[in-house]
Subunit: 310 residues, 2 copies
Amino acid sequence: MQSKKLMTGVLSPVITPFTDDLQPDAEMLIRQCRWLVDNNVGLAVFGTNSEANSMSTPEKISLLEKLVEAGLPVERMMPGTGCCAIPDTVELTRHAVNLGCAGVLMLPPFYYKGVSDEGLFRSYAEVIERVGDSRLRIYLYHIPPVAQVAITLPLIERLLKSYPGTVVGIKDSSGDWNNTKTMLEQFASDQFHIFPGAETFLLEALRHGGAGCISATANVNPRAIARLADSWQDDDADEQQAGLNQVRGVFQRYPMIPAMKAVVAHHSGLSGWKRVRPPLTECPEAQLNELLTALAAVNFSMNGLESDHG
Amino acid sequence: MQSKKLMTGVLSPVITPFTDDLQPDAEMLIRQCRWLVDNNVGLAVFGTNSEANSMSTPEKISLLEKLVEAGLPVERMMPGTGCCAIPDTVELTRHAVNLGCAGVLMLPPFYYKGVSDEGLFRSYAEVIERVGDSRLRIYLYHIPPVAQVAITLPLIERLLKSYPGTVVGIKDSSGDWNNTKTMLEQFASDQFHIFPGAETFLLEALRHGGAGCISATANVNPRAIARLADSWQDDDADEQQAGLNQVRGVFQRYPMIPAMKAVVAHHSGLSGWKRVRPPLTECPEAQLNELLTALAAVNFSMNGLESDHG
């Protein structure tokens, strides 16, 4: 059923820039995506760290169109398309497939809590049937700390059995290595790719048959993370992993999205990057200064962001 | 600032019927709303129990238009309009105001967890400023067990101070009488109306200055609940409350939405009422039979549903 190889390596849930009246800024997003691709990182736009759920379906459709029109590579795109309402998920997913995106990253519907695996299976099945396109490649999105609705192992098994070649992977943002390891042991294959949701687990995941990672901090530290994904069998892999963990550790001390946006604003000289949509709030100046000091102490740099954005 | 009296009494988050291909069924919804209004219950359409977040913004806009066109009373309407993304909340809210709805019930954005009161304040403020209409009446929607994002007392205080006459009430679905009581003590007034999210607290709330209730089970037991709201100062009020609690107690043993839909399907003879959108699953036949037996034991009847729908 599969005509192309699945994506591997590192992807970033690309942060979304907003104008001063809080509209998505397509031009700034295009530039950021170019920089990420130049640093060997794929585009998981419209993820949690993209504030995707703070944008409407028409806003996301318009942004994705502009990214593709700008010539960004669809074979490196895995837009998030999972919403609470099936019609929204279907519309975004169909649109991404028609634009040629390599895959979509799909949250379960996340308003109702304590729903059954049967209900979640029907949600995914309904979307797959309605989209009805053999080009569709779905990556499930397991992020219980935020969505509060989990994708369990039995649900993965059932979806994989019912829709092989369509349900082709998962992003595990549980933050629990034991969960990722169990997923790898039970499901990892050429037909099902497992991406931990942070580079903290990148090396271990690759050693256990993982496909790479999809990580927030790939927004700010793309080259180093992508390098480990490429050279994980080299002698210095553990050392590389330790370096990545230092940078990640600094960002994790702060609310991640505002912190990354503030750092990108600082390094690019584009202050608009600081903006977030409510209910998030921007990183206070004092916090940014702490963050920059801590990053300098771990020799952090944002390769070429200044010149690309200058 | 206020030209009209605020709504009081009992409102129902009206359950939403779906056709066999899971599209909203406007005709069936209109009939159900007529029956509720005939039983003295207002229309808090697009609530949690309406599966509102399982519908897209265009679907909700279309349904609300059809309800108004059908002649249902806008002065009894409080549609839910709170979404994760501000543009959706603004669009739904503006539409409801333009149709003349007496108020809107507004969830906080609920994807991100652990957000600050400052961020939630900005969310509501942004919606109010963008809608920019003096006719707007917002009822906040506090439902932490589902949304997992709370509306705290300091947030209410700040909104009330910043937007008097616009932020005019709250539905408290915490299920915690102490929380409702504190809200009543701190905020209840002619300018701020407090509705517990279940009739279980109706009598107590009315005795402490509450405005009524907005309750799921008003979908199935409207007349008796509305009667208590009208006659709570009568001698038999406690007895009435005990009767309501018995019926509520039966429904609470089962997943509420599928259970109510199954009972409406049974009594109306319209089997389509059983349908729910994923991720919910319909009430199994065996469960419905248990439910009907338990309801018969507490002398439950659905006043006039059969003839209205027959």
